[in-house]
Amino acid sequence: MTRALSLLVLLTLLGGTGLAAATTGRQAVLDHYAALAHEADPHFAAFTASAGKAFFLARPAAGGSETPSCTVCHTADPRNEGRTRAGKAISPMAVSRTPDRFADLEKVEKWFGRNCHTVYGRDCTPAEKGNFITFMASQ
């Protein structure tokens, strides 16, 4: 009993550490984009979830013909599991469902780099990336 309890405590602590690391990582990613956004526009104030939401739900139809919007693969609710066009499951974008999302700048840059081209037909701006992550962190 005591043993099971201490194991539970240990696991909770470990889980908490991982979660804290992800939160710190995500904040570092946001800070990085905030610095770039400020560089591009001295009037930049802060990222907003509402702008991120609009960006996510938009239908630019400017990239690949089969990927007119983010929602084609991720669905319109980021708390849902998505699906690649090849049929593979994508874990939800919402941070509440996938807590380690957006915590690794290299990974975040790799996927924005690819998917902004695929859906928007161009690079995303630092402000768009920051708004997107802010929206997903609120979901």
Partner: protein, 172 residues
């Protein structure tokens, strides 16, 4: 005289040696058979979006054609950093259909449609799957024509034995 400790020690050492042998031997290439495991970088990068096709399912020319246009990868930008792309290229070239003697590799080695880099668009693939209704590939449990592993239970190994084919539950 019974020597239980000696017997136990012998069993332990023998068992450990055998286990180590199995682990080491599983990475030794058998002529004509695909390697037991997919390359780690390949499996992680390519398997992020789709089933990581064993390299033996296409000839080197097809793989190099795919790697040359990762920024326009069947409708998506799948660009990789140069380091990962180089490693994956080398792995594909060394393990493509030309190097393997399985039924699937032998059928798919032919580049009958030089303009198509899709394995599922080759005449050989189409012929082998002609009796499968479109609804099977569209089923949620399958996902797409490229989800080999949905029905081929041994797909990751690259063997594709006829007796390892089984439709997912609820699909017919």
């Amino acid at each position: 005289v019974a020597r239980p400790y000696l017997a136990a020690a012998t069993a332990l050492v023998g068992g450990a040696a055998a286990s180590l042998g199995v682990v080491l031997l599983s990475d030794v290439l058998v002529t004509g058979l695909p390697p037991a495991r997919l390359d780690r970088t390949y499996a992680a990068e390519c398997g992020a979006c789709h089933f990581a096709y064993p390299p033996s399912l296409a000839p080197t020319a097809t793989w190099m054609g795919i790697m040359d246009h990762l920024d326009a990868h069947f409708g998506e930008d799948a660009s990789l950093d140069p380091g990962a792309a180089g490693a994956i290229r080398a792995y594909l070239a060394a393990n493509s259909a030309e190097h393997v003697d399985t039924l699937a590799a032998n059928r798919l080695r032919v580049t009958d449609e030089p303009n198509s880099l899709r394995i599922t668009a080759t005449a050989a693939w189409q012929r082998m799957h002609q009796d499968i209704p479109a609804r099977v590939f569209a089923a949620r449990q399958v996902g797409s024509r490229g989800a080999c592993n949905a029905c081929h239970r041994d797909a990751t190994s690259g063997r594709f034995a006829p007796q390892a084919i089984e439709l997912p539950k609820g699909v017919s």
